[in-house]
């Protein structure tokens, strides 16, 4: 195998983690915002559902995803009609990563919104700001440290996803073999040097990302003058 091919798990992992984090960023914030304003009787139930992927074992999640996206699942059959399938394809890695990362983003965003002083949002309203303006100009900027923290966690979790990814996307080198999967199968095959290489790369990458994002978070924190 050429060295270029040897590095595919890196590109796949990066692509997957970045895409999944991007999706959960918007979905997590949207869900948190919606739940923040929703006070109906299903609030606790919905909140529980959003957090569920956090507490379920990844293989359980993988199984559930297979049920939905598999040949006989609701979305699976739809896709089959158009002639495609999610299972054992790259998008499956993104779905698995996004599902496990979602609760982290959602929780962080929700907590961040809660700690924004309600008086500030009320003041903005009395000054004529639409709910949209209140959200984007007041709530989000002030909730930013918490949201940034959530993004970091979501990225780290996406990068490290193994169980659900293996079940939904499988271990297809060059297509769905992310770094964690590559490590597992390298160890299985006794290729310890290879495994060690990937482990080192992951650690360095994670530390690097954490450092950069924490820098960003502190900078924003200084601007808002808030201390969480």
């Amino acid at each position: 195998m050429s060295s270029w091919q040897e590095l595919t798990p890196l590109w796949i992992s990066l692509k997957t983690a970045l895409t999944a984090t991007g999706i959960t960023f918007f979905l997590g914030i949207a869900a948190a915002r919606w739940m923040f304003n929703y006070h109906g009787k299903y609030k606790t139930l919905l909140d529980g559902l959003f957090i569920l992927p956090l507490v379920l074992p990844p293989t359980v999640l993988g199984f559930c995803l297979l049920l939905v996206f598999g040949k006989n699942g609701p979305i699976g059959t739809l896709l089959y009609e158009i002639g495609t399938s999610i299972i054992f394809s790259w998008p499956a890695t993104v779905i698995a990563a996004a599902v496990v990362a979602f609760p982290l983003m959602y929780q962080a965003a929700h907590a961040a919104f809660e700690q924004v002083e309600p008086n500030l949002e009320d003041a903005a309203r009395t000054l004529g700001a639409s709910e949209w303006k209140v959200f984007w100009k007041i709530t989000v900027p002030l909730a930013w440290p918490g949201i940034a923290a959530g993004t970091v966690l979501a990225f780290a979790r996406s990068l490290g996803e193994f169980g659900a990814t293996l079940m939904l996307a499988g271990n297809i080198p060059g297509k769905t073999q992310t770094i964690p999967i590559a490590i597992y199968f390298a160890v299985e095959a006794g290729q310890y040097k290879k495994a060690f290489g990937w482990v080192a790369i992951v650690i360095v990458m994670s530390l690097g990302m954490l450092y950069l994002l924490n820098l960003w978070k502190t900078r924003k924190q200084n601007l808002t003058g808030t201390s969480t």
């Binding site: 002083e117 008086n119 500030l120 009320d122 003041a123 903005a124 309203r125 009395t126 000054l127 004529g128 700001a129 639409s130 303006k133 007041i138 900027p141 002030l142 601007l223 808002t224 003058g225 808030t226």
Partner: protein
Amino acid sequence: MGILIDIKKSLPGFKLQIKLSNEQDIIGVLGASGAGKSMLLKCIAGLVKPDEGKIILNKRTLFDSAQKINLPPQERQVGFLFQNYALFPHLTIAENIAFGLSKLSKTEINQRVAELMQRFRLVDSGDMAKRFPRQISGGQQQRVALARAMAAEPEILLLDEPFSALDDNLRTHMTKEMLAYLKDFSGSTLFVTHNIEEAYRVCNQIAVINAGNLEAFGPKRELFQTPGSLAAAKITGCKNIAAAIRKSAYLLEIPAWGIKLKTNMQVAEKKGFVGIRANHIKLADGLADDIVPENCCSAWIADESEAPFRSTFFLKIGSEPAALDDFHLQWEINGDQRNMIRNLPQPIKIHMPPTQVFFVKE
């Protein structure tokens, strides 16, 4: 023109029920903490929805439960000054003040902001506009909050305990300044506070709220002279209140104090309460022999509370006090009178002018 409020709202513990109307004035809203004062402001601003009733501002209906009208706060044109100012910490002073001005052009906005900063004395060191709220003093923060509220040209100003966060010195200064700004303002102002003195200094009309009910509402001098209810008397700071029995239209008997008092108010009810403010009691000693004031009695000093510029004597009428807390009346006097009174032989003679003795029904 003016404001008309007639709302009801059930809250944990009590029911808010306020009905008042006023034309362009500075109205003080007095009451104990938790009495519903802030809730009233939030209802007017549209931040909280009353259960029923209506709120009409300058002939515009802001809220009407019968007609299912409930304008969102964005459309009500209310200026709200929060207790902790609620300045946006991530925006500069200029951006804070300009927040409600988004409908104008950039040059117009800059002009307005400069005007307002001038008017509210925020232009001392040139770079004020670029500073952040945490970089300026408490007094300046308050002026920024006021400038921001005024920028949007509101039709009514709602001030929620604006001075509670300031120290004593600053408070007196800001009260005076605030009065100047408010006099300039063409709409009504509702000024919520639990500080009686502030309310009296800044406002012309005073509304007294107790456990969600409007106990009294009227011009401040009249209200303090004749509070109208027991709760209003207490909330407006009357320290000497006791149960009273009507002896005749202008004469009351007060069993707890063991005396009868003449009052200038005509009393119709058989029973009620009598009140006299602590600073209205007068010394009857040292007057010429032919002057015999009304409502005269002998009193012993049970205790004293000395403050820097004033003192409070705790008096017992008719007999010697058995302990420090065995007293009937609180008497407030100036610091310089204190020594003179202390040196008088006890019992001293005091009198309570009938003009200052008021009666409230149960």
